[in-house]
């Protein structure tokens, strides 16, 4: 595969969603239904990625306590619920992961 072609196409599909609404500012209004659907995009896409990345390790579903990625994600989830703070969530998840790696 041509990697530069991939980069060029990625650049297009990354830039256009960022730019189009800016370009249309002052000219159109987004339909309410579409805006509502877009509202769910981060939750839907990121949660799907989290699920696969944390529970499938090495191509296999790993629901054991040996899956430190899933345990770190659980810790992060708990801290995020309690604090709603991005930085605290990342720090707690990474510390939990490091401790598991080093101590267990």
């Amino acid at each position: 595969m041509n990697e530069w072609l991939l980069i060029a196409l990625m650049a297009v599909v990354t830039y256009l969603p960022r730019y189009l609404p800016f370009a249309l500012a002052g000219r159109i209004r987004i339909p309410a239904r579409l805006e509502q659907a877009l509202d769910f995009v981060p939750i839907a896409v990121l949660t799907a990625i989290i699920a696969q990345a944390s529970l499938y390790r090495g191509g296999e579903l790993d629901l054991t306590l040996g899956n430190y990625h899933a345990l770190a994600a659980l810790v992060a989830f708990a801290v995020a619920l309690a604090t709603r703070h991005l930085f605290a969530t990342i720090a707690a998840g990474l510390i939990a992961f490091a401790l598991l790696k080093l101590l267990v």
């Binding site: 990697e3 991939l6 960022r18 981060p42 696969q52 770190a72």
Partner: protein, 230 residues
């Protein structure tokens, strides 16, 4: 008091915590790209030209799984739809900007800069100089993304197996940190629950199509639940 220079500086300063959180991403991205056999120019080129953390991770992960190019591009497009929402949210505020400036600054609309800019808009709605604040945040984030990419690639070269240390956990926990505060209503939780279960059930679908379908299904369910409760 609100000189361009001061707004540039403030924009950078208020993006700092998010830049710190994104830095390990960049390192892991660089290291993973090295492990995946991408050469240095392609790796830095992707960070410099695409400049989208999640998309870049997905692209190199899918590349390593020998995914077809159109599927990678489609997946990246879907992942980037959230930036479209960001952009749509800021439409009203960029109206006074000249078109060339909108075209330039749109390129830099990341999660981090959007978060910093909306935070400023919430705290100082009437303050002048948003374009400078935005530019300061954007350039700061951009510079550090390039630096972390180079550092990650270099470390990946010197420390064999760096990409296998499990540092991709940084991406997972940061996504958790972005998603959880967004879970406000029942519809949001329903959307997340569907995305989570569906993604697990469709993991082995070819070319990550399960990720796409799960997202669309979850959005549909979220809207249905929101429609019923309103």
């Amino acid at each position: 008091m609100h000189t361009p220079a001061k707004q540039l500086w403030l924009g950078a300063l208020e993006t700092l915590p998010l830049v710190v959180a994104a830095f390990p991403f960049g390192i892991v991205f660089g290291a993973m790209a090295h492990t995946g056999g991408l050469d240095f120019a392609v790796t830095l080129g992707m960070s410099a030209i695409v400049f989208a953390g999640a998309s870049q991770f997905i692209a190199i992960t899918l590349l390593a799984a020998a995914t077809a190019l159109p599927v990678i591009v489609m997946t990246v497009f879907v992942v980037n739809l959230r930036q479209m929402l960001y952009s749509a949210n800021l439409m009203h505020h960029v109206e006074p900007w000249p078109h060339w400036l909108r075209a330039v600054l749109a390129f830099f609309l990341t999660d981090e800069t959007f978060a910093a800019v909306t935070d400023r808009l919430n705290r100082h709605p009437e303050q002048e100089g948003l374009r400078w604040f935005y530019a300061g945040s954007a350039l700061f984030m951009y510079s550090f993304w390039q630096i972390s990419t180079v550092l990650g690639y270099t470390l990946g070269e010197r420390i064999p197996g760096l990409a296998d240390w499990g540092l991709d956990v940084a991406m997972i926990v940061a996504f958790v940190g972005i998603v959880v505060p967004a879970l406000r209503q029942r519809a949001d939780w329903a959307c997340a629950a569907v995305a989570f279960s569906s993604a697990l059930l469709t993991y082995d679908w070819p070319h990550q199509t399960g990720l796409l379908l799960s997202s669309l299904l979850a959005i549909t369910v979220g809207m249905a639940v929101a429609g019923r409760s309103s």
